[in-house]
Every structure is written in structure tokens, then in C-alpha cells.
Symmetry: C2
Subunit: 527 residues, 2 copies
Amino acid sequence: MSPDTPTAEMHPQRWGDHASAVELPESALGLVDLAFGLRDRPPVAGATPPPSHLDEALLQELRALVGTEHVLVDDATRTLRTRGKSTPDLLRARAGDLSDAPDAVVRPDGHAEVEAVLAWAGNHRVAVVPFGGGTCVTGGLAARRDGFAGLVSLDLVRMKRLLAVDTVSMTATLQPGLRGPEAEAALAAHGLTLGHYPQSWEHASIGGFAATRSSGQSSAGYGRFDAMVVGLTAATPTGTLDLGSAPASAAGPDLRQLLLGSEGVFGVITSVTVRVRPAPAVTAYEGWRWPSFDAGSEAMRALAQSGLLPTVLRLSDESETAINLADPSSIGGADDPGCLMVTGHEGTSAQVAARRDAVTALLTDLGGVPLGAGPGERWAEGRFHAPYLRDALLDHGVLVETLETATFWSHRERLYAEVRAALTGVLGEGALVLCHVSHVYETGCSLYFTVAVRQDDDPLAQWQAAKAAASDAIIAAGATITHHHAVGTDHVPWFAEEVGEVGVRVLRAVKAELDPAGILNPGVLIP
Amino acid sequence: MSPDTPTAEMHPQRWGDHASAVELPESALGLVDLAFGLRDRPPVAGATPPPSHLDEALLQELRALVGTEHVLVDDATRTLRTRGKSTPDLLRARAGDLSDAPDAVVRPDGHAEVEAVLAWAGNHRVAVVPFGGGTCVTGGLAARRDGFAGLVSLDLVRMKRLLAVDTVSMTATLQPGLRGPEAEAALAAHGLTLGHYPQSWEHASIGGFAATRSSGQSSAGYGRFDAMVVGLTAATPTGTLDLGSAPASAAGPDLRQLLLGSEGVFGVITSVTVRVRPAPAVTAYEGWRWPSFDAGSEAMRALAQSGLLPTVLRLSDESETAINLADPSSIGGADDPGCLMVTGHEGTSAQVAARRDAVTALLTDLGGVPLGAGPGERWAEGRFHAPYLRDALLDHGVLVETLETATFWSHRERLYAEVRAALTGVLGEGALVLCHVSHVYETGCSLYFTVAVRQDDDPLAQWQAAKAAASDAIIAAGATITHHHAVGTDHVPWFAEEVGEVGVRVLRAVKAELDPAGILNPGVLIP
């Protein structure tokens, strides 16, 4: 993949590009109307960002560092680098609120240029927001700008190279601006895959995967992104970190793990060395029915604790199953309270056959009913579609958002009940609350909630109240505020509770050491 | 395991307890004589440590915190808490050098008492060396004492409780003072195992495993210790860290990974929550012969990259094989240049059968020759004996020491050759240099070297020169200065090169934040 290949930009008020937009079918519209009341809530058109505040002398310095054509201040470019893609982000964008737009978009190419931009920003106290794919859903692209001379979006779009492939060690070194499909295409040329497919995959970037500890839909087989990383390089405002001299080490704390999940507040990740695998010859997805979410969850636990995980493993609760399994005319109604599990196997045909046989035997023993390939393939076809559907529902006055957490197996049932109760308590019984488990470990699992409700007059405040109640319930249950969406600005207060006062002090100390001027993503992550 | 159960103390000048001491058989003595020249080098007897320098008023405060009987200043106790068990440590102890003895040994029970002792030490600028099992081989128990009012050994011997077991999540919470066998016995009462068996297992502690990122002989199946940890609590001089709300999380950097490998310089780990597994019903160890170290290493890589790892996987190079395979009369001579691999399978009988079949098929395909159970069982019987043999050889004027590293697969051959050359270059062609691979990953492996050579007049300087040359070679090859023995004081200069100037600054910043008086293990880990 050449660094000059243009990347499709997402619509500033929607997910994805316009060509892939999803319209709700007529039949679904009727049901949405029945459930939530159908209204037209089109996005405001023609909004423009506030004028750029950056001093022309500063811009001139910046142009000298990266080239004139890579410092952009036009409204269209700045609009495209305003915030991420959470529902609150979209609600603000749809209302024409571009108040978080950067003053400039700067596109360095390579580690040295990134370092130069950070040094410039430190000298002039300009806030810097690293930008990879722009898919953040936790407010991580809306940094604080008070007290700064300006705010620039540091766009990694030119850093899209596959820097090295080592087919003996099975590693690859990637630049951070590579989007999911670009990275897979570059690796596929060598017969390799990363196997990292979060729902944001079509637009999200390698740097973002690392900086946010992303986890993909194939995490059961390929692991979380942080587990794939064996090395990384980061440019900080005060020097370079180059980490990863072995797959594992006892040489002190694992500093790679301090950069992974650092969300751009310590430095900008300029390359990532990841473990890769052979591109799978065979993929086989299938469906299983379980009598309840509990029964299916226990089966997942059995798989994880037996060391028998498929590549993909996902279980919808009764509510999500009712919507996913049925045709659109059954939306919101669930005649069959069973739960759908999707299993997917990838690898050589021998690997897939052996693993699939073992998984099938265990799931059958535990009472699972095989549904064949149909449900699995339908899931695979639609695996990246949900964010498009959210736009269509927002257009019709339905508030849709997701949140996720993880816990140990023995706390799963309590966490599920308490987060649901918190959401319903704020949003009312008319709210649809769906849940699935899509990431499992020997000791626990994630819970991913999707919420749909009729928008009230202030949908932003409506969601923020529900989100706060759910977040309180998550922390009260001793679970993590986020399993794979990172902290951003939205999770900061709960993150502070999760890591405690001493943990917060550690993060602040690292921040002060690496970024003494505090220019990197102010307000993000660090409480 | 009750906290009152006495723990066998290791001899202050030897590994292990006297009852398990190993004498070299007559036949071996003759060969040692032939190879290195047999001399008597008995340890100096009757040495005493320097008098305790701690002010009586300070001791009184300490007694008030933990109880009079848990503050010990007698020579015998202080001698037992002097340094660890590296060959340099033993050479000093054998020469009667007890200059690193602590001024007092303090035995707090529980997190609150540890915190109180750290606060006391911070107030009075007393250096604190946390002590678990005392098995450190990198100088991690010989802290700097200049500029301090004294130095105390913080002995975790009273903190030996299994605090919690969760058989749904398959986790257990352990206190740090539990030694390997004590932890396994406590878990076995619940049908569980940790599966962590480093060579130091008989004496090393849970806290030490965590603080040094230990890796055991069953790491292929059970993983490194750091991979088992899902949560931990640490007392720092400025507050408590309580981490681990889920198996995995995207809530910022993984701060657990900052405490793992921190070697007591940030805080004292007061409990660890680990992933546990069912105690295996079946264990099966066996041997394989490979035509060369390269061929065997490539087979290990194939296993790791196929996801087909046994529980134990170990490969000796030609030199180590010649000594291990044969009877003692062949020591130093290798008629058969083949290499011994040991594979071990643990689990249910079905798991063992399935995994063993798959491993056997792959190894046979790759040209491995199965040797049956004999070599595997002999390895298992002797798996904890090597340190005892070192004492016997030191008694006879032979210098024996080990060092280890890890790298990516594509650098294995170069690293092996360059470390061997560095050792032989310093110690001469008469030195015996053995190597094995005992920890493998998809992307790389460890290399563990054992060296035996005739002691010269200053064996400490002799080893330090060889170690420095080997360490230089390791860093020059881009490998890690330690895969599982930690940094201690011995590795500090090379560790600084490995993590770079910015990495060192990060560690110092965390240190300054958590331990502003710098009382915890001064001189250890942090360059």
C-alpha cells in the first residue's frame, strides 16, 4: 500500500462513506415508528467550523517542518478532523456544532517529522490531537484547548507503509496510519494476516488499535491487539521510545504496556511491530442456539477454560437475538427467547476441522443446538454494518448508542443485570437494551450493550444521564469502565475510580516527564 | 498453609537446605579434575555480619508497628537475609563477605503493616529491601545503602495466606510470602494448580515471581507468571495500588504491567490474583532427539507457530545434551552430537492424548526421533537439582554460573553464536558453555546458557568480565538482557541501553512519584 493511496474519508456527520449508507427498509420504518415514534431528524447542513486561531507565524514554522501542502487550514479539512464517531459526537455534528474543530491539520510523514511537530507544539504551547482513523467513540478526539495557543490535528494519513516483514519470526512492522483494510491488504501480499477485525475495522488505524488497546471480533482466536504487539516506537515531546527487544522479557516493567492504551497522551506511536499469522485458507462461521444467555455464557466459559476457543465467539442475549435472528418485521418482539451464538473457525483446513470438531463436541454436550452455517454467515456479512444503521435511526429520531465493559466470570450475571437496570432506570422501560458477549478469556468476558430509545428534546443530555448511570453501575460492580473502547474524555471520572488515586498519580508523573508542556491530547485519559 | 508454618531456610553460603545437598560422585570428580583441575575451595566458616547500625529509637518505632518479636537484629537472621543466590553472591558469602547484611529484618503481616513500615522508612530515610524467597540471581537483594540511615530486609515470611479462590472465574488471590510448594499445596486442596515451576520453585515466592516476571519450566503450557496475573495490590511509600478489574481492559495503560517486573522499587506487592487451572490428572514427559540445535529449534518454532505447544518444551544444544544424556563418565565429551528435546504434557487424559498425538505427528514429520519416556522422566526428576550441583562444583574450584536472554526467531542463531563467542573469548576455550531453549513464543524464544570453568585467583572478577562480554553481545544483537531473571543490580547498565534514555526517564519519574525518598531497593533496577 503506497502512502499516496487516498483513503476514503468518513462523512463528518455520519459513519463511513456515503456510498455505503444504509436506508431502513419500509417494513422496518413501520416498526421503528411503532416502538419509538417516527420523526424526521435530519442533520443540519452547511455548518462551518470557527475560524482557525493559529498565528500565521506559527503556521509558517509548521509548513517548514512538513511541507506547505501538508498543513491544512481549510474548513472542509478541519471539519473532517472534528471529534470522532460516538453518538454524542454525531449528535453535536448533526446539530452543526463544530466548536471542537482543530485550527489546522498537519500531516507529517515519518517519525522524525512527528518529533519535529511535537517539539514545535511544545515550544509554542499548541495542543496536539493525534488522528488515525477518526473512529473513536469515547471523546478521545475532542481535547481541551483552554490555555493553549491553538489546537492541531496531527493526521497520520501519510504514514501507511508496511516497514518490515519477518516470516521466520512471524512479525510485521507497520506505520500507524494504515487503516484496517490497508494493513490486511499489505500483509496479504505476503500471505499473512493480522486477524484484527473490530467493528470499526474499515476505517480505524493501526496506531489507533495500539493507542486504545482495541479488541476485534476474532479476539478469541487472534487475541486482543495489545497481545499482538511485540514492539513499538513512539515520538514524545521529549524524545523517542523504541521498545520490544524480545517477545517477552523480565527486564523491568513492560514499558510497551504503558504506551499501549496511552491514547496519544504520552507520545505518538510511529510504528508497531505485531505478531502475524498465515492468512487462513478456510473460514467457517456457524450458529448455535442456547436456551438462555446464562446457558450460552456458561458454554463460552467452558470453551475458554478448556483451551478450546474458536476464532470468533459471540453470544447475543435474548433481546439482541430477537432482533438479529428474525426478519425486520419482528423487531422488538421476541417469540423465541433463545439466544444466538456465533462460532467462527479460521486456519488451514486441518486446523479448522480439528478445532471445529472439538468445539462442536463440547457445545453439543453442554446443550447447544447447532443451527448450521446460515446464522454465522449472516453475522459475517453484516459484521461492519451496525454503525451505518445507527445513522439511519438517528435520522428518524431514535437515539442509538453502545457501551461495553468486562469482568470476571463470577461477576458476569450481576454486572449484566445492574448495567441493564441502570440504563432502563434512566431511559425508561421503552428503551431497548441489547447485549452480547464477544470477547472471552479464561477468567472472564466482555459485555457489550446496545441501547435504542426515542430521542427526547435534548438527546445529548438524555444519553449522558444514561451513560453516567451505567458507568456508575460498572464501577460499583468492580468491572472495567471499558474493555476495548478506551477512556477518551467520556470515561475519565470512572477511569480515575478504577485505577485509584495512586494509579492516577503514576499516569500524571509519566505524562509530566514525557510531555512537560501537556500539549498531547489535553483532557484525554489523564484525570 | 498456615502463616505459622516454618519455611526451610537456605544455607547462607549455598542453595537450598543442607538435607538436599548433592555430592559429586567419585566418577564425576575424576572428570571434573580432568576438565578443570580439582581443588578444594571450601567456604569460609564462622563469618559474622557487621554490627547493626540502626538507631535504637528507630528500632523501637519499628517494633511498635509489627511487634517486638518481628524485628530481628541477631547475626544469624541478618546473615540469612544477605544477598541472593547468584554465583557472585555465593562467592562473596563463601569468602565470608557479609558486608551487604541488613541492619534489621522486619516481618510485617498484611498490607497495612507493610504500608506502616514503608512510611516509617520514608520518614527516617531507611532503605528497604523486600525479601520473598531469597533466590534472586541478579543482585536484586544487595541494595545501595550510602546516604541512608540504615537498611532493613522486609521479610514477607508471615504473609503466606491463600486469600481467595474463585472456581468459576478460575482465579486465586495469594499473599506474596507463599513459596512455590506452599502455593501449590494450598491450591491443590481446591483441586487447582498455578503450574509455575521455575528452577527456583522450591524456595522462591509468589511475590518474587510477580516482581521479577518469572517464567517457569512449564511456560509453554501455563504461560509466564506475568501472563497469569489478573490483579495485584501493592503498598507504596505514598499509598496503595489496587489493580485488575477485568481479565483485560482498554482503560488506559495496563498499570499491572508496571508493577510486574518492578523488583520492589515502586512498592511491595502484598497480594496477587492469578489465573489458576485444574490440577492435571495426567503428566507425561518424553524425550526427542534432533540432529542439531538448529533442527530442534526450528521444530520448536513450528510447534509455537502452529498453536501446538506441549506443557513443557525444552531443547538442549549439543554441549548440554552431551552432559545431560550420558552417564557422568562422558562429561565434557560428546560422541553423539545430537540434541535432546524434552516435551511434557499435562491435563486431563483426553487433553494429554489429543495434544500429544498432534505434537508427535508434527515432530515426527520434522525429523525428530522419539526417545520414549525415559529422558523426559529423568529431566523431571532432576529439574530443581542444578543449583545444588553448582555448590558441589564451587567446593572443588569450578566456577559455574548461568545467564539467559530472549530474542525473535530470526535472530536466534546469531544471538546463540555471539553470546557463546563472548563467553569463550573471555574465559578461554577450556570453558564449558552449554545452552538450552526452554521458553518459546510464536515470535521467538529464550536462550539459557550455563558456563563452567576453572576458577582463577579472583573468580568474582573472572565471572564479571565474562558476564559483561556476554551482556554486551546480547544488547548488540538487539535481544533482551534477561528473559526471566530480572534486572537486579547486575543488569542495570545493559537494561538502560535496552529501554533507552526515555524509558529510563519514565521509570525514574514513576519511582520519584511513588517513592520520593527513594528508600525502596536503592540501586536495583532503576539506572
